[in-house]
Symmetry: C2
């Protein structure tokens, strides 16, 4: 049976999972694909750490170049994460004629144009199934399963940590601080969860989904990103009362000839399928013109889930190698009907607004006056409590309004003498 | 650019969709795959029917052999459905060295062993993405995306018509007869919806999913199949009261060294993701050992959705052909830990039971006595109404019980003088 050699750069959590799977499923895989996948070299900074998997010591090295320069290695899996030196390792591997598998969403989001171009030049493929939704085969599905489709919109819950936090806040009625503490205690959040909570990780993944669906790598700085740290228990409670759940959504939406890209917490109708996606699960909703509205759901993280995706990429590459197939173009057909990115100011949404107003006559009239001046029409208003001379929440749901008008109105409202706290506005999606 | 010729057998609903897509996405596809897909011949019995798509008349033929015997055609798409002559067409195409795409679940479920063996012998591939879940890339996901996984269980809502009927009954509190009439009026049910409503169509699809996950083609006659025509509005109402939805599920579940296969209506907890799958949508829940619990959701039918899947198969075959790849083994690695099929008598489930009992002292005691004799323990009992000397529903939820014990007990209960109607029992799943 033909053998194909692979080299792993990174023997951490995912790398270790890949080794486990390739060891335990060796016979299953070779029977399925007619090729034996051989791990020829594993590189890591730390080679003494216990990993729960046993490998021949001769395979281990500190030096990535031993993999990159080995002419017998056909596939390099980069599993160290981060921008540098991962970028250099991948570039050099491509230049040395190797195909690449990576789970590195940050790197592909930041440097995808450069790396995909290099791969194209060199006639090599970069596969990255594990970079979005761990073991969910979302990238293969968009790229191959929906090969003939055009897309209106892709949106989803792409970060397990923040979804866990929001789920806890919703189900246990706890504060953001308590939920994040619990997520850390359970291993669902890193000690510094900033990238997850602030929406950056979701934005990286959104860049990749946008690339697959619309053929463009958009710079992170051009995406509107808002995290969940400002979400309060009371907004979650009001959301439920109004028939919504709050989810951190990453959204790529085609509006006429522009693309809207954003990551932000959103009100989703409770009956929407994504509203039932709880805890560390991810789900991606894809609106395609031929296959219709699809959803892909599964755990958003986990050693074996991510490694399952890396192994499926390795398997696909063995088939490409056997066949001499070169298919980077499958990813990257640009949707030429898209002329540019829409600025966040021009986005139109329904909004949930919570204003903290002193409960006395005339305040609501002033607020309503300002909203009306900005052309914002209100679908419903509820004043939640009555407490003379103290601030009480006034909760409103708007009809569709441009972001800049909403921001303008809130800025003016927040200057009123009877408004004691910064007003809260959360976009309503999926309706 | 290299051209690959295809022949379509069947110019009905899906065939027509395939032609539309290949015409409209010609440039997109050739840019993505570097190959031009050329429709060389289209065969149908009826060539005069208006189809909303224009094709060169020279492509049309009544004679499938013109396609099968054409040495310039590499891929045959069989889109006529039914067992004969579809089987003959596919066999002959394989024998003539062509790859095959089909959406024909009934044929593959009935004759899959024979056809897949023939393909293997001839070194050709049969792809069948459109046969389950229309445009949902479920087959590619299991076969390729989850290539390294073993499976505990696959279950789902595989039939749009019956799901539409159950959704209507649940949302509109209407009868089965009214719901089916509406489904027909809206084009969601065929004039004779027997195959859909009786669970046969779901069972065909279950055979294919079982083949992909466990490597065995199971005969339809060995699958326990129960349709939805016995589901009454009152059972749906009680389900909701108890926190469940009723869904027609197709289930393949590994229990120790046996496989349980069945299609039947089931109580699913309302918070289960599948409970939110409404109308003509399908969803497949896959429990895998590495990637975890995944769900795939989308429209279960529709011309362009099914055609989208057929086209993705054609595209994959063009890549296989370009590469000389032969990969029928990707489908068919048998899970050797499975020794046989479990008989329905031995299935264990929780049950919803509705008994129609005359409301007088002692009846419940007799019923409870029989249940206890069969070792059935009850988690909850509700008597819904009080109407002296008329039958009233007594609703019970059991703990886990073997099917044969439950059947034995109900048979005995139904013989009691005070039981006036046949008792109803519905399995509770997903818990």
């Amino acid at each position: 049976m033909r053998k194909i050699n692979i080299g792993l750069i990174g023997f951490g959590n995912i790398g270790c999972g890949v080794v486990k799977i390739l060891q335990q499923r060796k016979s299953l895989l070779s029977r399925k694909i007619g090729i034996e996948i051989v791990i020829k070299k594993i590189c890591d900074k730390n080679l003494t750490k216990k990993r729960g998997v046993s490998v021949d010591k001769n395979l281990l090295t500190h030096d990535a170049d031993e993999i990159i320069n080995d002419p017998q290695i056909d596939i390099v899996a980069e599993l160290i994460g981060g921008i540098n030196p991962a970028k250099e390792f991948i570039s050099n591997a491509l230049k040395k004629g190797k195909h690449v598998v990576t789970a590195n969403k940050a790197l592909l989001a930041e440097c995808g144009n450069e790396l995909f171009s290099l791969a194209r030049e060199r006639g090599k493929n970069i596969y990255f199934e594990a970079s979005v939704g761990a073991g969910i085969p979302i990238i293969k599905s968009i790229k191959e399963g929906l090969v003939a489709n055009k897309f209106d919109c892709i949106f989803g819950i792409l970060n397990g940590t923040s979804n866990y936090v929001l789920t806890q806040m919703s189900k246990e009625s706890c504060s953001f601080a308590d939920a994040i503490a619990e997520a850390k205690a359970k291993g669902f959040a890193e000690s510094d969860p900033t990238l997850d909570i602030q929406g950056i990780d979701s934005a990286h993944k959104l860049v990749l989904l946008t690339y697959l669906a619309f053929g463009k790598i958009i710079a992170i700085k051009d995406i509107f990103i808002e995290g969940i740290s400002q979400i309060s228990a009371c907004d979650i409670a009001y959301a439920k009362e109004l028939g919504y759940e709050i989810k951190l959504l990453a959204i790529a939406k085609k509006k006429l000839d522009e693309l809207e890209l954003c990551v932000h917490p959103a009100f989703l109708p409770s009956e929407h399928l994504l509203s039932s996606v709880d805890g560390v699960f991810n789900a991606i909703y894809v609106s395609s013109d031929l296959a219709g509205d699809l959803m892909f759901y599964g755990p958003g993280a986990g050693q074996l889930a991510a490694a399952s995706a890396v192994v499926s990429d390795i398997v696909d590459l063995t088939q490409d190698i056997k066949a001499g197939l070169f298919r980077p173009t499958l990813n990257s057909i640009e949707d030429n009907s898209i002329k540019g990115l829409r600025k966040i100011d021009e986005f139109e949404n329904k909004y949930y607004i919570r204003i903290m107003a002193v409960d006395k006559p005339g305040v609501l009239a002033k607020v309503a006056g300002i909203l009306s001046r900005f052309g914002i029409s209100i679908a419903s208003v509820t004043q939640k409590e009555r407490l003379k001379s103290r601030s009480v929440p006034v909760v409103m749901v708007t009809h569709e309004v441009k972001e800049k008008n909403l921001r303008g109105a809130l800025k003016m409202i927040d200057k009123l003498a009877d408004i004691k706290e910064k007003s809260v506005a959360i976009r309503i999606e999926g309706v």
